[in-house]
């Protein structure tokens, strides 16, 4: 149980740091896309700020549950298992929800692509932590 908790917490903190890092990298390398965050479809910073910082903990919880249940079917080394977790999450969860987001909300396709990459990298990092700490 302790191992599971440590793996969840480590993955969550790593995903949070990666998320912030990728956002700043996006600002630096793709400022025109990042300008879109000023669009009114994005909530103003304020009372709900904590929900943004909590998202890696929610995602780590979901991925940990998935890992505990299906880790037996992921075979190979740490890297390969992490890539498989990232692929499953990206194709099963991210792709449909981002498709729906693009269809319903006024955000550009480029922005959607950055979110897909962002989610893929985050889930890959979680996969690495789980495969290493809780194989």
């Amino acid at each position: 149980m302790n191992k599971v908790f440590i793996a969840w917490l480590t993955a969550a903190i790593l995903m949070l740091l990666l998320g912030i890092g990728m956002l700043y990298a996006g600002i630096y390398f793709f400022p025109k896309i990042a300008d879109e965050y000023f669009s009114p479809v994005f909530r103003k910073a304020g009372e709900t700020d904590w929900t943004f910082y909590a998202h890696p903990f929610i995602l780590a919880f979901a991925l940990k549950w998935f890992w505990e249940r299906y880790k037996g079917i992921f075979e190979g080394g740490v890297l390969l298992r992490a890539i498989e977790v990232a692929l499953v999450y990206s194709i099963v969860a991210l792709l449909p929800i981002l498709w729906l987001t693009y269809s319903a909300i006024d955000v550009s396709f480029k922005m959607i692509v950055t979110w897909f990459i962002y989610g893929f990298v985050q889930s890959f990092a979680a996969g690495l932590v789980f495969a290493k700490l809780n194989p």
Binding site: I27, Y37, F38, K44, W50, F52
Partner: protein, 200 residues
Amino acid sequence: MRVTFYIIFFLFILNASFIKGLQNNSLARWVVEKNSSLNIQGETNINSFECDVTEYLRPDTLVYSKNDAIKKLCFTNSCLIIDIRRFDCHNKFITEDFRNALKAEETPNLKILFLTIDQFSNSCNNQIVKGIVDVELAHAVKRSEINYTIKTLPGNRIQMNGSHVFYFSDFNLKAPKKLAGLIRTKDQIKVNFQLFFKAI
């Protein structure tokens, strides 16, 4: 009878000196010309941005009295009113966000109330003078000292350029922030203006 005469004489003298005083502080007017413009420069942690209003469509007039002795203009109820909803930041996301940050829907007008201009002369060529204005935005008023560059143009026209740094917080406004503050606009904005007046 003699007392009445003295009273009338005294009032006459008083009135004459009052009229003389008025001649020292002559009243005049400037009409704001249509080609006057206002530009705001700001920065976010992504990019810098510029918002412009390139036309002044209101027929406003500045009324002032000039004290010739100290070359000082004192304005009376002289105000420029700028519609915030006409600000164009050349980026649809920033334009909309900037207007929202200035509470354009609640208080659509930015008011610049001219109070005084010092050391004003009728024939200047890029002369720098100091003036005091009250800027009203979102029900908050900020008094500021502004340096103007004044140039007289042919046809009784005057060009007045200037700039001043303001902060969103001066007007109890919040600089836009998104994504839990990771995307943010800096509090400081620089307002540049180029005003053209016709003296009448």
